[in-house]
């Protein structure tokens, strides 16, 4: 048994089909539990009041948005090295979810920024680099849609994803250099000093786990439908429709 066995579309469909219900239910439970814990059973912040609760949507969506790109990068490299179609399709499947999470992160950030900083938008490095991430997602998705031959599309988007990662990281540090920020430091990091307070921390972790599970469920679902779409296409070609 090796991990690569599941690169076979049939095996992948079987495994993902049996996993999908569990992952989805688990995602729903953790998100509902985490959000209701966060929304109703934690105190308001002494400075920010109830707006601090935007944190429970803002941080997880931003986290998933960045890591979705990272997952696409890994899947693209696997596609280029080992030519497993499932990998290419998983990268394709993750992109719309990533861009949706980016938009959620930006919008919740704006809603939070308005009462706290007095502005919907500020050209702060973190905000700016998220906007840039959005542009990279956009280019990636548009390139997938523009190329007709599926293998060529997979190849081109994989190279775009790899080179794009280099330039996205460059842009991240360029924006750091370009403007000093309003945004607070990382809400979650190894360094305990800069953490959010524990009361907010535990529900946040639960919601984050929920968002990650949601991401996994959606990627599995999208990848499955991509595989099936391709099969349907092959059947249509074969039967001459």
């Amino acid at each position: 048994m090796s991990f690569w066995e599941y690169a076979n579309p049939v095996k992948f469909l079987k495994l993902s089909g049996s996993l999908l219900p569990y992952v989805s239910i688990l995602a729903a439970i953790t998100i509902i539990a985490g959000l209701s814990w966060g929304f109703f059973f934690t105190p308001d912040d002494y400075k920010q009041g109830a707006t601090v609760k935007i944190l429970y949507v803002h941080v997880p969506s931003a986290f998933v948005a960045i890591n979705a790109w990272f997952m696409m990068l890994v899947a693209s490299i696997i596609w280029l090295v080992r030519r497993h179609h499932v990998s290419a399709l998983a990268a394709k499947a993750a992109a719309p979810i990533g861009i949706a999470m980016t938009i959620i992160g930006l919008v919740t950030g704006a809603l939070w920024g308005q009462p706290m900083w007095g502005t919907w938008w500020e050209w702060d490095p973190k905000l700016t680099s998220f906007l840039i991430l959005f542009l990279f997602y956009l280019g990636y998705i548009i390139l997938w849609a523009a190329v007709e031959d599926p293998d060529t599309a997979a190849d081109l988007t994989s190279v775009l994803c790899i080179v794009g990662s280099v330039f996205a990281v460059l842009s991240r540090y360029a924006t750091n250099f370009w403007n000093q920020g309003l945004h607070q430091d990382a809400s979650l990091s190894i360094d305990k000093e800069e953490h959010v307070a524990d009361v907010f921390y535990y529900p946040l972790i639960v919601v984050m786990a929920g968002f990650v599970l949601l991401f996994v469920a959606l990627v599995l679902l999208n990848t499955r439908s991509e595989i099936m779409k391709r099969r349907a296409g092959a059947i249509m070609v074969r039967s001459g429709i």
Binding site: I132, I142, V147, V159, F167, S171
Partner: protein, 208 residues
């Protein structure tokens, strides 16, 4: 050869000129204000003018089959990409840089300050050319490649634009410029180091 092919060279230069001349019409004839936005205007103008001529890097050669011959020739495809990008810079980037002092006058820049813009453009426009060559390689052979090319390439231009315009702005406002110039140079060199390989691999995919 590139000069002869239907005036793509003159066009982007003319576009740069017109774009920069139109800014005062939009912002108003206040030279103080114009000189403040001059670095940004010239940088965005250069970037858009560069974008305009990118499609021609590979599209024509792709259509008439020259690219197939170049792939089978003994020169590595990476070398072809590099020479194409150099030619693109010589016919687009360099003329833009040469035109900058005159446009600087129109935007109310002091003569001594124009030098910062020239330095930042000389160091930055090569990056625009090689990044553009990568984008052109990605979209070679697509029917509506032009618009797609712009959408794909523009995010890649962000670091160059930030460091380039920052260097010019800092120079004009009298701050130290060394850091931003070195970073700009770094972005240019990094682009020239990795993108020829990426562009060549993408071309091979497109020619399959």
């Amino acid at each position: 050869m590139l000069f002869g092919q239907g005036g793509g060279f003159g066009l982007s230069l003319a576009f740069f000129f017109i774009l920069v001349v139109f800014f005062p019409f939009a912002i108003g004839p206040n030279l103080d204000l114009l000189s403040k936005v001059a670095p940004g205007t010239l940088w965005v103008g250069a970037l858009l003018a560069c974008l305009l001529s990118l499609e021609r890097i590979f599209a024509l050669d792709f259509e008439d089959g020259t690219l197939d011959l170049l792939v089978t020739s003994p020169i590595p495809l990476e070398g072809v990409v590099i020479s194409k990008a150099i030619v693109h810079w010589l016919t687009t980037g360099l003329p833009l840089v040469l035109l900058t002092p005159f446009l600087g006058v129109l935007l109310g820049l002091q003569n001594s300050n124009v030098i910062f813009l020239i330095i930042s453009l000389i160091l930055g426009t090569p990056a625009l050319s090689i990044i553009g060559a990568f984008g052109a390689a990605l979209t070679a052979g697509m029917k509506r490649g032009g618009l797609l090319l712009s959408i794909l390439v523009l995010p890649f231009y962000i670091p160059t634009l930030i460091f380039g315009a920052e260097a010019a702005r800092r120079g004009i406002e009298g701050f130290e410029t060394q850091t931003s110039i070195l970073l700009l140079l770094g972005v240019s060199l990094l682009s020239w180091a990795i993108l020829p390989f990426a562009a060549a691999s993408v071309l091979r995919i497109n020619l399959r």
